[in-house]
């Protein structure tokens, strides 16, 4: 039993490393082509060897602790960010029952760990004793907490339809019609909210480069910065998984046999679309981000949950 757990842990950590490394490369390549550039090109096949080079650079950089920083919290920050991001991945089901923890409340488990991230960002931002990180951390905390509510409310709609919080059940329930068809409003809100949760454009205020340099991660260098990146790409992966599993049918595909490959393709598609947004959209302003969540998404999400529940009761053969 413990061997299985160990293998799973190694596998998940490898997956995160691969997702981060390939994700960074793909993001640079994809946005490069969006902009009429070619992205990394010169090291290896289409710049693939850029990644080991970047990693070596990151590891060999000086580990700077800014003077005036709260030393212990500064060291602790990246760990606080990585641990919940990685722990959340334990509940990801890649195939029917194939997960480290195929719990009957897997969805709840992922959200519970993602909720810890604002805490990590707040610790990071506060410990650096820099005003840019402080502003970034406060923005991150405010934004992540505001967008958790519409995200949870729309996920609730999915749970109502599937009758379970287990990913296997949620995805199996979509073997006929995907949830994006059953609750398109829920999908739209969930996607917007998860973009904000992942700090992706147009909600990348916590690390708004032109305003606050790099937000909460401004003072980090070397591998600590690497860990913060690792946490971000883990969250990106988990978020893309959530969108694919909750709304895009997971491993189901119309007219074709179900396969984990579909799930992976959907995750890649969702990740790529976030990169597409990053290459296309400018950033929203901080007050309109808050207004969007509290004035629009949360009320609509509430109505959406009630409507989906009513439909599920009224039309049980469809929903």
């Amino acid at each position: 039993m413990w061997i299985r757990t160990l293998l799973w842990l190694i596998g998940l950590l490898l997956l995160i490393a691969v997702v981060t490394v390939i994700g960074v490369w793909w993001e640079r390549k994809f946005i490069g082509h969006l902009q009429g550039r070619r992205g990394p090109l010169h090291h290896g096949f289409h710049g693939l060897l850029q990644l080991p080079a970047d990693m070596v650079k990151m590891i060999s950089k000086e580990d700077i602790v800014p003077s005036g920083a709260d030393r212990w919290l500064f060291q602790l920050g990246p760990i606080l960010a990585v641990v919940p991001a990685v722990a959340a991945m334990a509940a990801i089901a890649f195939w029917r029952g194939f997960a480290l923890l195929d719990m009957n409340h897997g969805l709840f488990y992922i959200f519970a760990f993602q909720t810890l991230l604002p805490l990590a960002f707040a610790v990071i931002g506060w410990s650096c004793a820099s005003k840019f990180t402080l502003i970034g951390a406060l923005r991150a905390a405010a934004q992540l907490i505001s967008y958790e509510i519409p995200m949870l409310l729309t996920a609730l709609g999915v749970v109502v339809v599937a009758g379970s919080m287990r990913f296997t059940d949620i995805i199996n329930a979509q073997s006929g019609t995907w949830n994006i068809v059953k609750e398109p409003v829920g999908f739209a809100i969930f996607f917007i909210a998860i973009l904000a949760e992942m700090n992706r454009t147009p909600f990348d205020l916590p690390e708004a480069e032109s305003e606050i340099v790099a937000g909460y991660q401004t003072e980090y260098s070397g591998m600590k910065f690497g860990f913060v990146q690792l946490a971000e790409y883990s969250v990106l992966f988990t978020g893309s998984y959530l969108v694919s599993a909750l709304f895009l049918g997971g491993w189901n595909m119309p007219f074709l046999p179900a396969s984990p490959i579909w799930l992976l393709l959907k995750i890649v598609a969702v990740m790529t679309s976030t990169m597409w947004f990053r290459g296309t959209f400018p950033r929203l302003r901080v007050d309109s981000v808050m207004a969007l969540s509290w004035k629009w998404l949360i009320p609509i999400a509430l109505v959406n949950v009630m409507a989906v529940s009513a439909l599920a009761l009224a039309l049980p053969h469809i929903y």
């Binding site: 946005i31 969006l34 902009q35 009429g36 550039r37 005003k131 840019f132 502003i135 454009t201 147009p202 990348d204 708004a208 480069e209 032109s210 305003e211 606050i212 340099v213 990053r278 290459g279 296309t280 959209f281 400018p282 950033r283 929203l284 302003r285 901080v286 007050d287 309109s288």
Partner: protein
């Protein structure tokens, strides 16, 4: 140390002093702004300048009249040709040098093209500042690169042309290169501007960021000494190319772009309009270009008569004034620049308070700073 008295926020909230720059991703050079923040709202702002000071005005006193043309390139390094023209016009008026007709046309052409590249840099910068990750930036670079290739073929330099001479220009432009440029400006460039416009003023998020942000009346702006597109976006149609014509502007069919609204979005619209208008003017210039000499003979050891002359021109950022004073020797007695951006930037003190930190960059974008000319 810069003296920065804090004003404090309403209700006794403690404020925070944030140094934006001189090393910051979005200050376009080495601008340093001290902002006092209450939360994310700017209470007071104070630009700190001088990080790029090279002493150009003093350096000019030690060089001959001709050598100073190269120095003028280094004033506003985004609008080099405009600076050169302002300087040579001042010296030509002082020394009463006649300029051949073709040279005037060539100068006008290059300066208008320069206005296009300068506005393209503004476009690239403002889109970066509102968080669009470089895509519009690269879009603007495509057309800019095309024009810079032309600059290079004409003057041998992309950034620092050193092309104008007292009494004319250094090199002629052959008909084939002119025709190439004309084709580009007439057919390809308007489409590119359509793209720019769609990406900027056609984007919902950009409009929500810019509409109603930093609205100032023409009277306010005049009082603060703001000139150029930033002023024209508030409804004042002051444009020296029309009001105090020089070059061949009075022979061309063009209009001054204005906008009555006066917010950040209006400033974008005016600059996009000027992009189109400048391209149109360039096409007309190439069509109407007369033949003939490109330069008159001027002595290398030029000794203008004693006196001083101040010349105003419309640079892409506003009114660029250059004063040259001669004591009858081969070197200027005094060289002084009235930088438009210096005055525009000074207005930041009045413009920024009350806006959010994110709006600060939008308002900056409307001013289009270039530190090379402010610090000189």
């Amino acid at each position: 140390m810069v003296n920065f008295p804090r004003q404090g926020a309403a209700g006794g909230t403690e404020t925070m002093l944030l140094n934006v720059g001189p090393q910051h991703p979005s200050t376009h050079g080495v601008l340093h702004i001290m902002v006092e923040l209450a939360g994310e709202t700017v209470v007071t702002a104070k630009p700190v300048i001088g990080y790029l000071h090279r002493g150009i005005e003093k350096l000019a006193e030690g060089r001959t009249w001709q050598q100073n043309i190269a120095l003028c390139d280094r004033l506003d390094y985004v609008a080099q040709w405009s600076n050169e023209w302002a300087y040579v016009r001042a010296v030509e008026r002082l020394a009463e040098i006649e300029v051949p007709e073709r040279a005037d046309w060539l100068r006008t052409l290059m300066v208008e093209l320069n206005r296009v590249t300068s506005h393209l840099i503004w476009y690239a910068g403002v889109t970066m500042d509102i968080g669009a990750l470089g895509t519009p930036f690269i879009y603007a670079w495509v057309a800019r690169e095309r024009i810079f290739d032309f600059f290079e073929s004409v003057s041998g330099g992309r950034m620092m042309p050193n092309w104008m001479r007292l009494g004319g220009v250094r090199t002629d432009i052959d008909a084939a290169a002119l025709k190439d440029m004309r084709d580009f400006l007439e057919h390809d460039f308007p489409k590119e501007v359509d793209d720019y416009e769609a990406l900027l003023v056609g984007n919902e998020i950009v409009v929500s960021r810019m509409k109603g942000v930093g609205t100032f009346s023409a009277e306010q702006l005049e009082e603060w000494g703001v000139t150029g597109p930033a002023l024209r976006a508030s409804g004042n149609d002051r444009d020296l190319r029309r009001d105090d014509p020089y070059g061949v502007y009075d022979k061309l069919d063009w209009k001054v772009w204005t906008d009555p609204v006066g917010d950040s979005l209006a400033r974008c619209r005016v600059r996009l309009g000027e992009l189109r208008e400048s391209a149109k003017m360039c096409v007309q210039i190439i069509d109407g270009m007369p033949g003939g000499e490109i330069s008159t003979k001027v002595s290398k050891a030029l000794r203008p008569p004693e006196g001083d002359v101040m010349v105003r021109t419309e640079s892409p950022r506003g009114e660029l004034g250059i004063l040259v004073a001669s004591d009858g020797t081969t070197k200027p007695y005094r060289f002084r620049v009235r930088s438009p951006i210096f005055y525009n930037l000074s207005a930041m003190v009045h413009m920024l308070p009350g806006h959010l930190l994110a709006d600060m960059l939008v308002i900056f974008g409307g001013i289009d700073t270039s530190m090379g000319e402010i610090d000189r």
